[in-house]
């Protein structure tokens, strides 16, 4: 056996014994394959394999690193090791991947994929892959031309391009293996989400909730990019992949073709429910979980009915795509509360029994705990300031809405909290099994909203609302909250000047990392929120931090800076802050961002000093 083969063999043996228990994300197969990309040191049972193969780290979406070299005691000595400019100026929302000894970075449009060799100090560019998406696709990207990352499987790096292609690139050579076009910009579709690979399939969804798209999730075969199945978010049961196994928990979700009958005639064909967020996977139940986006148009008077299955969640059979249960966070959504946030799959002690739950910091401002086998809402508590509902009725699962906060044609409703980007938008949280806390980067925003007429012209915006956002109570626009889902309350909270629009990373060293739009990359104590270390980047941070073990055995932290996204569009899109309705009203709350940051994407890598390190 060569050294490489030995590494692969031992990795397999170790993983066969312990990886399943220690890493619910079922990374075993991927670990074995990485010998083709670079050799790994060995992982002990219960340890981290040192890689980062998907943006959520594992299929349960905890984004938790088990590496322990960097701790709350020593993180103050963390230093900047190296950086790499992506050459792109738009919002960098992606998580880097680390596979073997190679790091992969996917940029916003034009969606360049960089492969960086981690062996030489400071990294070295191995190759770049340029999919050359259509520039016209920029015209149907609602909220900057972002991309939220790639996934690794079967020797391939797989990701989506803004112009609706899923591409698979050979992780070693950078050669394109396959590419599949899944949508059409002339129907307003784009793609920004990060795929999730489950067994032999890669799951992807569309964006375009502000363009009257019809949302879908599509499963492609990893081997050749052929389409295995597609599940629409609206329309007849046959299109939504609802069959005999569909057992929703709540009465209002049972019936035939509700994806048609909960809409005015034909409106479901342009009704949104885009699938642009996060997907989780439970290998024991063999179910995938993902959310659906807002209904279109925003103006709710245009679409009487519950607008199924928008602003909700599906549990589906991972192999066939057939729905097992569904639930709407915001039936007949009034405020652009896309339901696409991450679903963190945990086994929690709940009223004395261990329960398979799904924890969801939802855009509508509630932190939900669901039974992930049945879809029952076990709890729903506000984690932000809320004026539009007084709670969630656990008998029906429905939010209890405040009548006077309902917007409509020609009526301006003031102080809608949370605002359209929600208590929390796409920015993913991280769970530490050590502290039992979910670390949530989120917003503190309110808005004024007026319904106006919406005219559907395919390929153009379909919104029908005039929105102006502003800071929530306290004047700060962001928060970083550590939430205890069992105690159903916050353990601690940090206020941020701007929306906390980056992902979070919790580590076994009791350190939590996140970035801010005003250019700070921060390490805080997982138990107290105390600021332990910070580093100033060149541009604001809206990316997802990761941690990995380098070829030298040291623990590294990596994050992309490069402000943008919906929240940062005033900088990345060079918008005029005098128009408070600009960028769907987000500019109203972000007019001072240009005083704090300019645009520009850079990868930053951090580690403790090599001397004195304790690998």
């Amino acid at each position: 056996m060569t050294q490489r083969q030995v590494a692969a063999f031992v990795l397999f043996a170790v993983c066969a014994a312990g990886c399943r228990d220690s890493q619910p994300g079922d990374t075993r197969a991927a670990s074995v394959e990485t010998a083709t990309v670079g050799e790994r040191r060995l992982a002990e049972p219960g340890e981290d394999d040192g890689q980062w193969l998907m943006p959520s780290k594992t299929h349960d979406a905890t984004r938790f690193s088990r590496l322990t070299e960097i701790t709350a005691d020593n993180v103050s000595r963390l230093q900047h090791e190296w950086s790499f400019s992506t050459g792109v100026l738009q919002g960098h929302e992606a998580a880097p991947l680390v596979v073997g000894t190679t790091m992969y970075v996917v940029t916003p449009f034009p969606n360049i994929l960089y492969a960086l060799d981690l062996n030489p100090p400071g990294g070295r560019l191995k190759w770049k892959y340029e999919p050359a998406p259509m520039r016209a696709a920029r015209g149907v990207a609602c909220c900057d031309v972002v991309n939220r990352g790639a996934a690794y499987a079967d020797g391939k790096i797989i990701y989506n391009t803004l112009d609706n292609q899923t591409v698979a690139v050979d992780a070693v050579t950078g050669q394109e293996v396959w590419t599949t076009r899944l949508g059409d910009i002339n129907r307003g579709e784009s793609m920004t989400m990060a795929p999730l690979v489950v067994k032999d399939k890669v799951l992807v969804g569309n964006s375009g909730g502000e363009f009257g798209v019809r949302g879908w999730l599509t499963a492609l075969n990893v081997a050749d990019g052929s389409i295995a199945w597609r599940a629409y978010s609206t329309g007849p049961d046959a299109d939504v992949l609802i069959g005999p196994d569909f057992k929703p928990f709540y009465e209002q979700d049972r019936g035939v073709d509700l994806g048609v009958t909960s809409w005015p005639p034909e409106m479901w064909t342009i009704g949104g429910g885009a699938v642009w967020g996060w997907i989780s996977y439970d290998p024991d139940l063999n179910l995938i979980y993902y959310g659906t986006g807002n209904p279109g148009p925003w103006n709710p008077d245009s679409r009487p009915g519950a607008n199924k299955w928008t602003a909700g969640i599906f549990a589906r059979d991972a192999d066939t795509g057939m729905a097992r249960w569904a639930y709407q966070w915001s039936p007949h959504d009034l405020y652009d509360y896309d339901g696409v946030n991450e679903n963190v799959l945990l086994d929690l002690e709940w009223n004395g029994a261990l329960r398979k739950v799904l924890v969801r910091p939802e855009r509508n401002g509630f932190l939900y705990v669901l039974d992930r086998a049945t879809g029952e809402v076990l709890s729903a508590d506000p984690f932000v300031y809320t004026t539009v509902s007084t709670g969630v009725d656990l008998q029906t699962g429905r939010p209890m809405e405040v009548e006077e906060k309902k917007p409509g044609f020609g009526r301006v409703v003031h102080d809608i909290c949370p605002a359209a980007p929600g208590g929390k938008d796409w920015q993913p949280s991280s769970w530490s099994p050590i502290t039992g806390l979910l670390y949530i980067p989120h917003n503190n925003l309110c808005m004024d909203m007026e319904g106006v007429e919406a005219n559907y012209i395919a390929g153009t915006p379909f919104v029908g609302a005039r929105v102006v956002m502003k800071a929530g109570p306290g004047g700060h626009r962001g928060e970083f909250t550590a939430w205890d889902p069992v105690a159903r309350k916050a353990a601690w909270k940090i206020k941020e000047r701007f929306p906390a629009w980056s992902g979070a990373l919790a580590t076994a060293g009791d350190v939590v990392f996140y970035g801010t739009m005003d250019r700070w990359f921060k390490a805080v104590h997982a138990r107290t929120g105390e600021l332990l270390w910070q580093f100033q980047t060149g541009s604001g941070i809206v990316g997802q931090p990761i941690s990995y073990r380098g070829p030298d055995g040291r623990q590294y932290i990596a994050v992309l800076s490069g402000v943008g996204g919906w929240a940062g569009g005033v900088v990345s899109g060079n918008l005029d802050p005098r128009d408070s309705t600009a960028a769907l009203g987000f500019v109203g709350a972000m007019g001072d961002l240009p005083e704090y940051t300019t645009a520009g994407g850079t990868l930053h890598v951090f580690a403790l000093p090599a001397t004195g390190a304790t690998p």
Binding site: R135, S302, I457, D579
Partner: protein, 163 residues
């Protein structure tokens, strides 16, 4: 519920609406009212012209920029969803109009051409959706959103003004 029937109609006809609209508009476009004026041809997007220095194309907006023209322009700006990308001039999906930085030129003819032909970085081509007269009304309204003083035109280089 005043507008609901309209929306229901839009919804019910969604599969056909685009085709019908564009067909109607195309018919209308072949018979522009006398006030519509001519469509500009060969509009330069850039000021670099090999061999000679030229002024901007001389065509000016035949519908003018009085209150009536601007109001019609505003109506069309909303109806054709221009507002969904450019908002009230601050921009979003598309660039801002308020700041006086006209990427593809800020003259009447250049703005007209941007609307009709589209631009490479995401501006759709509306040439088959709008009559010439509608386009000129949009030009008037879009230019009125520029409240930089005086308006700067990136396409003509530093210091050159377009109004």
């Amino acid at each position: 519920m005043r507008v609901q029937p309209v929306v229901l109609l839009i919804g019910a006809a969604s599969l056909l609406a685009g085709a019908l609209l564009s067909a109607c508009d195309r018919r209308a476009g072949t018979r522009p009212p006398p006030s519509a004026g001519a469509r500009p041809e060969h509009v330069a997007q850039v000021p670099l012209v090999p061999g000679r220095v030229v002024a901007h194309a001389g065509i000016v907006n035949p519908v003018g920029s009085d209150a009536q023209a601007l109001e019609e322009g505003r109506r069309l700006y909303n109806w054709f969803n221009c507002v969904g990308c450019h908002f009230e001039g601050g921009g979003g999906i598309g660039p801002a109009f308020m700041d006086g930085e006209w990427i593809y030129g800020g003259s009447d003819a250049q703005v007209f051409d941007s609307i009709v032909s589209g631009r490479a970085n995401g501006m759709p081509t509306f040439g088959d959706k709008l009559t010439i007269e509608q386009t000129w009304h949009l030009v008037a309204f879009v230019r009125s959103l520029d409240d930089s003083e005086p308006a700067r035109d990136r396409s003509t280089g530093s210091g050159e003004r377009v109004r």
